[in-house]
Symmetry: C2
Subunit: 487 residues, 2 copies
């Protein structure tokens, strides 16, 4: 598939799935060219193709618009994965060796990073951040060092609190503790509320770092069934809370890693009420909350937290400043305990990073950046879904997240995800095999695919390659490339 065809396919997918609706203006050629790192002529070629397909039409001196009457859906997309099976008892965790083996093998700069946990750096305003660093450090007075100790730079905490308020969540700056990324926030929150041997609820599948934290602190994991579209099963959770001495829940209600599921707002409210009845603290991992494709940010569970029992963890690492290692937690009633743990273990987040982010937020433009980022990721998802649809074995199921940069792909039962991962590595492609997302390596036929690397020219080709390997493992003949529509 040529580059312009890939871009056309991505845009077609956005139209197909309703992200772009009839009458919507298409991204301008300049905008699309910059966001995707492709030449204006490639964008033009893609729009000509879409016009030929009857999907868009041009208006003089105004650009391209989605056509009012669309042709029948280009083709059926693969179905969604099924919800994970209900949990059995809680289990000890010994997953770290496998996780490190998998992650370690993926740290090669020449790989196509489908297994990466990070989006592409080309999506972030790194130059502007570097300028903000310089400005922020010029403003450094001696007091700033003391002022930047935990809970962290007061100005930055106020700016974060303000964003909560803009999203309708009541969080005071005093409740916020800055950390070295969300990962530290999550670990400190867990440490603040558990003792070795305690039971902690996680989703099934769940982010491997949650499992590693449980392993490190010698905790029992209780993995609760989770739906690939709307998140953890509340009936199953209620049952778990009734039957087990659960000491904490570590969940990702918005754009869950690895499923991409998004709990509907009402369900989040119910979740908080349910946990409140059992007086169980919720550690809410919301690092992808800003990466929504729908117009409005989904509220976090924290929005419904009356008792201060929700610890809302997030960061700038996935949506603005990767590598700056600035995250935070709004820790409710646990804030003093979390702050002490922070002071005792790593003292404070790095001052240059705190200064840079505070300066960036003060300058304005964060929301403009986020809009561009979301649009790029939505386009990339469309591209990924189209390629998976085209190349992966019959019987493949794929999640359709409404945000973030992961899809969860469930392959036919003959395909072992670790085998697929190893074979893909030999072809220069990394994958995140399903086995690292549960304590008992249950998701042996699924992979998490990162589509957040728009500058990766061989992205679609890599999915083609992975699909062909998967077909082989599934005992199917590789699927032929789709025939490009006639111009």
């Amino acid at each position: 598939m040529k580059r312009y065809e890939r871009h056309a396919d991505a845009m077609a997918q956005l139209i197909h799935n309703g992200t772009l609706r009839p009458g919507d203006r298409m991204p301008s050629v300049r905008e699309a060219s910059r966001a995707r790192g492709i030449s204006p002529s490639t964008v033009f070629a893609a729009y000509y193709l879409l016009e030929a397909q009857g999907l868009v039409h041009s208006r003089p001196r105004s650009g391209y618009y989605v056509s009012a009457r669309l042709p029948a859906a280009l083709q059926a997309r693969p179905p969604e994965p099924l919800p994970s099976p209900p949990q059995r008892g809680s289990t000890g965790v010994a997953i770290s060796d496998l996780v490190f083996e998998v992650l370690g093998s993926a740290r090669d700069r020449d790989l196509v990073p489908l297994g990466s946990a990070f989006p592409g750096l080309e999506l972030f305003p790194l130059e502007r951040l570097a300028r903000c660093l310089s400005i922020g450090m010029r403003q450094l007075d001696p007091w700033t060092i003391v002022n930047s100790l935990s809970p962290g730079n007061a100005r930055l905490r106020q700016q974060i609190a303000l964003r909560y308020r803009l999203h309708g969540v009541a969080v005071e700056p005093d409740e916020i503790i800055l950390t070295n990324g969300a990962l530290e926030a999550l670990n400190l929150c867990l440490e603040a509320v558990v003792q070795p041997g305690d039971t902690v609820v996680v989703e099934s599948p769940t982010f491997y770092a949650a499992l590693q934290a449980l392993e490190r602190l010698q905790l029992q994991a209780l993995e609760v069934a989770t739906h690939p579209r709307d998140g953890i099963d509340l009936d199953a959770l209620a049952q778990a809370l009734a039957q087990h001495p659960v000491r904490a829940c570590w969940l990702m209600p918005s754009f869950q890693n690895p499923l991409g599921s998004l709990m509907p707002t009402g369900k989040k409210r119910e979740l908080v009420a349910l946990l409140e009845r059992h007086q169980v603290p919720l550690i809410e991992d919301d690092v992808y909350g800003e990466l929504h494709f729908a117009p409005h940010r989904p509220p976090p569970a924290k929005a419904f937290d009356g008792a201060g029992r929700v610890m809302h963890c997030s960061s700038f690492s996935k949506c603005l400043a990767p590598g700056y290692r600035v995250g935070w937690v709004a820790a409710g009633q646990y804030a003093p305990r979390v702050q002490r743990l922070k002071l005792m273990t790593t003292l404070s987040a790095a001052i240059p990073s705190q200064q840079a982010l505070s300066e960036y937020l003060a300058q304005g433009g964060y929301d403009r950046h986020l809009r561009q980022l979301r649009r790029s990721l939505a386009q990339q998802q469309a591209l990924a879904l189209a390629a998976i649809d085209q190349h992966f074995p019959r019987g493949t199921r794929v999640s359709r997240p409404e945000g973030g940069y992961f899809v969860w792909v469930e392959l036919p039962a003959q395909v072992d995800a670790l085998a697929l991962h190893r074979l893909a590595l030999q072809q220069g492609i990394s994958l995140a095999p399903g086995q690292i997302f549960s304590a008992d390596q249950r998701f042996a036929h699924s992979v998490r695919i990162n589509y957040g690397h728009p500058a990766q020219a061989d992205f679609a080709q890599a999915l083609h390659t992975v699909g062909a390997i998967a077909c082989r493992l599934a005992g199917q003949v590789p699927r032929p490339p789709a025939i490009s529509p006639a111009p």
Copy 2:
């Protein structure tokens, strides 16, 4: 005392204690003026005074030199504190509340920071570091983020390994893990080798953060007698190792916090051999190792580590880049375990900070900065010792560290250090009371004093004030200010 008198006093102390020897050239007026943040005329006035006292003489077009025949010592200095008493059994630790109360009360920007853990920011090349930040971030390519994950930026680890080699210590870059300051390194090392309930040896008195780490991980502290000049008592340590199931030692062999003690090189070698016989890992906190006043850096215990059982922790926070939060550990055989813990909890040190320090080290000039820093701290120590000698109660004992920026002051038994701390706070002065440096709050009559703030104009006055309060608590009449020698 006027400013020029204080400066003269400081220089007299350096001559007195042998830091400046007969025939040595005095710091040039320009150098002294910049290093101390005082005007050239103040430096001149101080040198005139010293000349009048017969301590220095000028040579035309060359500057001031220490005179060959010195007058009798200006006055006797207070004696050193006695070694701490031998340990009893190991104890659980519950010190954090007190530590946080004390540290929290000292976080007020208007206080004279005698209780601070940090040296004055004016001692560090912050502007050059900010420029290195900009340069380092301009060089950022996408791969840098992956390359900066734990164990951390490869170039910076090589630069650190090179410094080890320059100091005669064989450390490979692979053994080094970059962390968020030394505090994280120390905590991760501890976590890598213990289980809840284990016994850990610390010095007596010891750095409160070690006690907090033991408390957090539910460990038993075994506090071993420590000499204020040459560090932990090896006989007492050998006895402890024979009698208790010690799982780790957390020690600071060079410029111990709070004592300032420095283990002689041969004693460090014995320490490592002793621990090796018992196969007990040593967590070596060496954050002050670069701040020596003698010509050569004292070797760390790590220099004698044949079995890879010494985890040498240090950082740039105390000697170059406060607030950048870049520390490291050379973790020997424990490196893989420490690296995994790092990846699981905070992922990596902040990339801007790593980039800045790597750029700074590549540019050269670190050793020139260190020489200036050491000279400033040595001068400040002389000033502090003189003021304590002059104003503190009879019966006071003071350590005489050969590096770092703390002295340990043992007051008469009538003086409760917490009471002194609270009264000093009312006068706008912070102190670190001895109680926070042991699990059983044993050092109730001692305080740690930070002299590393040369730009603090009221430093000597603050020591005068603290001395007067201490005299009152000791039931002594405050001591009159010394009579300045006639010009």
